[in-house]
Amino acid sequence: MKPLEILKTAITNSFRSKLRTSLTIMAIFVGAFTLTITNGLGTGISNYIDSQIAAVGSSNTFTVNKTGTSGNPGSGPKKYDASTRVLASGGRPGSTQQALGQADLNTIGAIPGITGVTPVTRLSPDYIQWNSLEKYQLSVSPLAGAQPQLAAGSALDDSGTQPQLILPASYVAPLGLPDNNEAIGQDVTIGITDATGTVHPITARITGIEQSALLGGGGAFINKSLSTALADAQGTGAPAAANTAWAEVTATFAPSSASQVGDMKAGLAAAGYTAQTLDDRIGTVKTVINGIIGVLDAFAIIALIAAGFGIVNTLLMSVQERTREIGLMKAMGMGSGSVFGLFSTEAAFIGLLGSAIGSAAAIGLGTAVSGALARGPLSDLAGLHILAFAPGPVAGVILLVMAIAFIAGTLPAWRAARQNPIDSLRYE
């Protein structure tokens, strides 16, 4: 029998006992539906996290600081060394963070693979104000490769001379701005206090409004021009040394493989610096989410295995019912391989039906629910579609279910294949 005929016959056979086949399909449906939903959850959340991570920083940068030497409490206080400078830090009492100077910048820049080093100046503006209305607190950070998700407006111009900022959407209404779109192009005043206690008002233009984000601290992104202006204002009157000491620097590198990143990290570690990529900082979040989705997937697989026993049962009954037919076909020269193929194909087809319907239902329902959630309870997390369905994983689910169905079909198919034609024909 030709494979195509086997396929056609198997499909026809699967519709011969409609009620039994439908019940088996229902069981598979439940498993496939669950698996597609958990997969969609995984895809949706990781898509969101990826976009959120991109919004916070570039994946091609390290945040570098000096490796702390105060780690071991048993070693007692460190001897004073005039060449090291220490910054007061917000860590546990006794922990110190050493400052990085120009020499450090040069050392870091010399590590193979590092293409650029930018010191991170901690800018602490006092307030932001629009149109002389209410003043609000604000934290700012330079772009450093981040790709904020904009609700309106356009990206910052880092090379221009005009001071610019991207404002979080949550500031629009409090500042008295009419709405996101009207806010674009407006000038705001940022106040910053210098070392002598004088407040400098600095004017900057809003170029974009950022969607509310999961990972961002709710601060504004500023361009180089504004960052320089703020740093200059903040540094006014400070001792010269303070302007050349930084808690951390950002080191950029060309897109690299994981092992290249590892090499650079090792190089930095050998030189006495701790380097973290964004993935390092966010990795644990991903691990936890993957763990939760793994557990959900396991439940779906259990449901599918139960459905697999349903297939075994259905097909064993079919084999029993069709004993004579099998005997007849074998008497007419049908090979055992074809008989096996007939029943295992039928199993795989039942699996395909169940999983295709289950996945389609999951995609339909999931998309609707996810859309409703995004508009309702989750609307604060703009851009979060809790369920997202990519073709790859969905096809993977369908193939997995078909494989389980096929395996379940092998026992009945094997039974059918080894039947003696005459015993089957005598079967009353």
């Binding site: 030709k2 076909m329 007419m332 020269g333 003696n420």
Partner: protein
Amino acid sequence: MSAPILAACDLTKTYGRGPDRFDALKGVSLEIDRGDSVAIVGKSGSGKSTLMHLLALLDTPGGGQIHVDGTDAKTLSGRNLNALRNSMFGFVFQQFFLNTASSVLENVVLPLKIAGVGTRERRARGMAVLEQLELADKARNKAGNLSGGQKQRVVIARALVNTPQVLFADEPTGNLDTATGRIVEDILFDLNSNHGITLITVTHDHDLAAPFNRRLYIRDGVLITTDEEHAA
């Protein structure tokens, strides 16, 4: 002289074991020539069907050999055995074994489907054989909706569709009334005399056996002479 198309030597067949052990055949030897028409006659339970199944290579004997066209059946591989069952032999079983939910044509072309013949040719050959058996107008009917005589003709059409050299028929008129039985009988003899098909028919009916070229009488798993049977 060429080898007989079927030759059996000292065939035995035992069903069950222990106290249930039953010797259905106790050493049967026979030869059937190409183009012959042979009736295997005996009472119910005498081992006729068992013998026919062994000759048709549907079952394996407990002992003895079967030669098909001079080839020992034991030496045939699974693939060759299937090819032989498919294209050299045609069967009409004691029951119809029709798929009642499928159409007459679909039932008839089943051996061609198994042989891997394409849809178009299957149709053409199926229709040709239905024509031959005057069933062409029933081709699209469901097999379950036919009368007994029509069903038996469908079964014969199915046995003939792959142009077999040997046609086995197990009680072909057993399920039919006398008049319909006569028609089926005529069809079988026509196939033998006008199409050169070797005909091997199992029956318990002496009237049906009479027109055959040869009659083999079987009782309790052994072949006996005609006289003994008539005397009994």
